[in-house]
C-alpha cells in the first residue's frame, strides 16, 4: 500500500470515528445532558455579568443569578441545604448502627464470598489439570541451548503475523492523530460534551465569578449536588474496573508524594546534624558499616549547604544595596573566570582593591589605574562602580555595627558568587565522588539545582561530574612531595573528603620517618606541617562570616589517627547501620504479591533452566509477565529505601560524650553511582594482573588431619615457630 493510500484510509477511519462519536453523543447521551448545557451557559453568562456589575456598581440585584437555583427537572435525594444534610446524616448514622442493616450486609457479604468460592471450585479442576499437564510436558530434558521450542516458535509466528501488525496499525494511527491536532480537538470536544465534562467546566467558571461577590449568601450544598449529578454521567459510563484503575493510579501518586516528603525530612535531618556538629567530621566504624557511604552523604549535603548559604548571603547584599547593578558584577565575574583572569577568591579581593584604589584617585592617576584594571581583568564598564547610577542609591550601608562601604560589598558579593556559581563540584577527595547538580541558567542569574530525590536516572547521569583529585601538597606548608608542584598554593575553599584517612596521616607509632640526613628534604608526616595547616585552614575560606572549607574523613579505628588530627574533629562511631527502612507508605499489598510472585517465578525458572537448554513457551510468558513487575518493584524499592545509621558522637578535643545520633542514608541519594565502595581495589588490580594462579590452583586438604608439611605451606608464623623449634628447617626465604 502506498503512503498516500494509507493516509486516505486513516482520514476515512478518523471521519468514521468522529461520526460515530457524534452519534453516540447525540443519541445515547443527548437526553441526559442537553438541557444541562443550556443551564450551564446561562449560569455562566449571568455570573460573569453579575461579577462585573457588582465590581462597577456594588449592587447584586441588577443581574439575577441562576447558579444557585436547582433545576426543577433534576430529581435528587442529595441534600440541598445544611438542614437537609443534617437530617440525612442523622438517618445514616442511625441506620449504620441498626442491627437489621448490619445483618443484611453480613448476609450479602457472605453470599458474595460463597459465590466466589463456588466459581473458584468450579475452575479448580481445569486449573489443577493444567498444572499437572504443564509439569508432565516440561519434565523432559533437552540440551538445545538457546533454541526456541516448537510451541514457542509457533507463538512467535502468530505474534509476527497477527499481533505485531495490529499493534503497529494502532500505533501508526495514534502517530497520525498526534500530528493532526484538529482531529484530536474534535474528539476531545465531542467526548467532553458527551460525558458532560464541558458542563462541569462551564459551571466551575460560573461558580468562580459568582463566588467573590456572593460568598456570604452561598449555598454550597446546591453546588455539590449539581456537580455530583453532572459527574454521574461519566461515572456511570465507565465500568467499575476503569475507576478502580484510576483510583489505584491516584493512590500510587499520593503515596509516592508522601514518601518523597519523608525523604525530604530525612535530608533535613542531615542538615540539622551538620548544624549541630559544624566543622571537621571523623566517621569511624567497622568494615562494611557504611562509613564511606555516610561520608559521601555528608559531602553531598555540604555541597548543597555551601551553595544555599552563599545564595542567601548574595540576596542579603542585594537588599542592602538594592539599586546596585549586581547583574553586571555577576556577568563580569563569570567572564573573567572563564578567561582565567579571576580564578581564586584571592583575585576577587585583589581586583576590588585595585578598583577601590582607582575610584578614589583623581586625574591622570585615576585614568592610568582604570586602564590597568581594563587590561588585567577585561573590565569594560563606564564608571568604576559597574555602571552604578549613584543618584539612585547609596555608597555605604549602616548595619548598626559598622558602616559597610560599597567596595566591601562588591568584594564580598564577588567571592560569594564565585563559590555559588562554580559549575564544578566544590570538593577535593581521595576517592571519586559523582555529583549530579545542575544550574538553571537563562543567561542571567544561574539557579543551583542540587535536588537529590526527584531527578530521573537519565537526568542524574547526564549531569555527571566527579570530584577533584586531592593534592595533599596543597595542604603541606612544610616539606612537600614535589616542591615545584603547581597545585601547592591553589586551595582556598572546598569540601575535603578523605576515606581511610588514618592510613594517610597515621599516629605517633605509625608515621613514616625520613632516612638520616633527609629529614628536611623528603616529605613525611612529621615534617610536612599538615596539622598546622589544618588548624588555620578554616580562616582561609571565611567569606561573609561563613566558612567555606570543611574536612570530612573516615577510617576503621579512631586510635589509628594521631591526636593532632583527631582532636580537631567531631567523632562519630557507627554503632549500627544494618536496619533497612522503607519510606513509601501503603505498599504492603504489592510487597506481599511480589514475594509470592518471585517465589513462583524463580522456582519455575530454576527447574526449567536446569532441565531445558531450549527456550520454552512457559518461560517466555512468565518472563513477559514477571519481568516488568520485577523492574517496577525494584525501581520503587530503590527509590524509597534507606538505611538507619546509629552514630555514637564524641568531641575529639575533650572526649566529651555527645550522645547518639540517628540518620537515614537514602539509597536514591547515596547509592546513585556516587562512589565505588571498592575504590581501594585499584591497589590490588596490578597484583591480580601478574598472578598466574586463581583459587582453583590452591592446594586442598585431603583429609580432616593437617600434616606438618601442609602447616608449613601455609607460610604461618605459628607453624614456623612450632616446627623450627623442633629442628625443621625454616621455609622463609630472604627478600631478593
Amino acid at each position: 500500500m502506498t503512503k498516500r493510500a494509507k493516509k486516505i484510509i486513516m482520514h476515512g477511519v478518523t471521519l468514521v470515528f468522529i461520526v460515530a462519536s457524534l452519534a453516540v453523543a447525540v443519541f445515547y447521551f443527548g437526553d441526559k445532558i442537553f438541557s444541562r448545557y443550556g443551564q450551564a451557559f446561562e449560569d455562566f453568562v449571568r455570573s460573569f455579568c453579575y461579577y462585573f456589575v457588582f465590581l462597577v456598581t456594588g449592587r447584586k440585584d441588577v443581574i439575577a443569578q441562576t447558579i444557585q437555583i436547582f433545576p426543577a427537572e433534576m430529581e435528587t435525594l442529595l441534600p440541598l441545604s445544611f438542614e437537609e444534610f443534617k437530617r440525612l446524616a442523622e438517618l445514616y448514622v442511625q441506620l449504620f448502627f441498626t442491627k437489621e442493616v448490619f445483618l443484611a450486609w453480613l448476609e450479602k457479604t457472605l453470599q458474595i464470598i460463597g459465590d466466589v468460592a463456588y466459581y473458584l471450585s468450579l475452575f479448580a479442576l481445569p486449573i489443577v489439570t493444567w498444572i499437572i499437564v504443564m509439569i508432565v510436558v516440561y519434565n523432559s530434558t533437552d540440551k538445545d541451548h538457546n533454541k526456541d521450542s516448537g510451541p514457542l516458535r509457533c507463538w512467535k509466528r502468530f505474534r509476527d503475523k497477527i499481533i505485531k501488525p495490529c499493534v503497529n496499525a494502532v500505533k501508526g494511527y495514534f502517530r497520525f492523530l498526534k500530528s493532526r491536532k484538529l482531529y484530536v480537538l474534535a474528539f476531545v470536544l465531542i467526548w467532553g460534551y458527551a460525558l458532560n465534562l464541558l458542563t462541569i467546566v462551564v459551571e466551575a467558571a460560573a461558580f468562580v465569578f459568582y463566588l467573590g461577590p456572593a460568598i456570604r449568601e452561598l449555598n454550597i450544598w446546591i453546588q455539590i449536588a449539581k456537580l455530583l449529578i453532572d459527574f454521574s454521567v461519566v461515572w456511570f459510563f465507565f465500568p467499575g474496573i476503569v475507576w478502580a484503575a484510576v483510583g489505584y493510579i491516584l493512590l500510587d501518586k499520593w503515596r509516592r508524594r508522601l514518601g518523597r516528603k519523608r525523604e525530604e525530612e530525612v535530608l533535613e535531618d542531615f542538615e540539622a546534624f551538620i548544624e549541630r556538629h559544624p566543622g571537621a567530621l571523623f566517621i569511624t566504624g567497622k568494615q562494611r558499616s557504611k562509613k564511606t557511604t555516610l561520608l559521601t552523604m555528608f559531602k553531598l549535603m555540604y555541597e548543597r549547604i555551601f551553595r544555599a548559604r552563599a545564595k542567601k548571603k548574595l540576596f542579603y547584599w542585594k537588599a542592602r544595596f538594592p539599586f546596585f547593578p549586581w547583574i553586571n558584577v555577576e556577568k563580569f565575574l563569570t567572564k573573567a573566570r572563564k578567561d582565567h583572569k579571576i580564578y581564586m577568591l584571592f583575585h576577587c579581593r585583589r581586583f576590588v582593591q585595585l578598583l577601590k584604589d582607582a575610584y578614589y584617585s583623581t586625574g591622570n592617576v585615576k585614568w592610568r589605574k582604570a586602564r590597568t584594571i581594563r587590561r588585567l581583568y577585561g573590565y569594560r564598564f563606564k564608571n568604576l562602580l559597574f555602571d552604578f547610577d549613584i543618584g539612585e542609591g547609596k555608597l555605604a550601608y549602616d548595619n548598626a555595627l559598622e558602616n559597610v562601604d560599597i567596595f566591601h560589598a562588591i568584594e564580598t558579593y564577588m567571592q560569594l558568587f564565585f563559590i555559588y556559581s562554580q559549575r564544578t563540584p566544590l570538593d577535593y577527595s581521595n576517592y571519586a565522588i559523582r555529583e549530579d547538580f545542575t544550574f538553571k541558567d537563562y543567561g542571567n542569574f544561574p539557579v543551583f539545582d542540587g535536588d537529590l530525590l526527584k531527578k530521573t536516572t537519565k537526568e542524574s547521569y547526564k549531569a555527571t561530574q566527579y570530584s577533584y583529585i586531592i593534592d595533599y601538597d596543597a595542604f603541606r606548608p612544610g616539606v612537600k612531595f614535589d616542591p615545584s608542584n603547581p597545585n601547592k598554593d591553589a586551595v582556598e575553599y572546598g569540601i575535603r573528603t578523605m576515606e581511610e584517612y588514618a592510613k594517610e596521616r597515621g599516629n605517633k607509632d605509625t608515621r613514616q620517618r625520613a632516612a638520616k640526613g633527609e629529614e628536611d628534604v623528603v616529605a613525611t608526616q612529621n615534617n610536612d606541617g599538615y596539622e598546622l595547616d589544618n588548624k588555620v585552614r578554616g580562616q582561609v575560606a571565611l567569606v561573609d562570616y561563613d566558612d567555606y572549607f570543611v574536612s570530612l574523613f573516615d577510617d576503621q579505628r579512631a586510635g589509628s589517627l594521631g591526636a593532632d588530627n583527631k582532636d580537631l574533629a567531631t567523632n562519630g562511631y557507627i554503632k549500627g547501620a544494618a536496619e533497612k527502612v522503607f519510606l513509601l507508605p501503603f505498599f504492603e499489598v504489592e510487597t506481599a504479591l511480589f514475594a509470592l510472585a518471585s517465589k513462583i517465578y524463580f522456582s519455575i525458572y530454576e527447574a526449567l533452566h536446569s532441565k531445558k537448554g531450549s527456550n520454552t513457551l512457559l518461560q517466555y510468558f512468565l518472563d513477559k509477565l514477571f519481568s516488568p513487575f520485577f523492574g517496577w518493584m525494584e525501581r520503587t524499592q530503590k527509590a524509597f529505601t534507606g538505611w538507619k545509621v546509629k552514630l555514637h558522637m564524641s568531641d575529639g578535643g575533650d572526649e566529651e560524650d555527645l550522645g547518639f545520633e540517628e540518620l537515614i542514608v537514602l539509597e536514591i541519594a547515596a547509592y546513585r553511582g556516587r562512589y565505588a565502595s571498592d575504590s581501594c581495589k585499584g591497589f590490588y588490580e596490578f597484583r591480580f594482573a601478574r598472578s598466574k594462579r586463581g583459587m582453583q590452583d590452591f592446594e586442598q586438604y585431603q583429609t580432616q588431619r593437617v600434616s606438618a608439611g601442609q602447616r608449613q605451606r601455609q607460610k604461618s608464623y605459628f607453624a614456623e615457630l612450632m616446627l623450627t623449634q623442633n629442628g625443621v628447617q625454616t621455609s622463609r626465604k630472604p627478600k631478593q
Binding site: Y92, F96, V101, F102, A104, W105, T109
Partner: protein, 34 residues
C-alpha cells in the same frame, strides 16, 4: 519490610475494605428508604 508488619497491614486493608462496603451498603439502604 518485615513479614509480620505486612501481614498486619493487609489485615487492616481488608478490614478497611469491609468497612467501606458496609458504608456503601448503608448508603444504598438509606436511599431505598427515601
Amino acid at each position: 519490610m518485615n513479614k509480620k508488619r505486612i501481614a498486619w497491614a493487609i489485615v487492616g486493608y481488608v478490614a478497611l475494605f469491609l468497612l467501606f462496603t458496609y458504608m456503601a451498603f448503608v448508603f444504598d439502604w438509606a436511599l431505598q428508604g427515601l
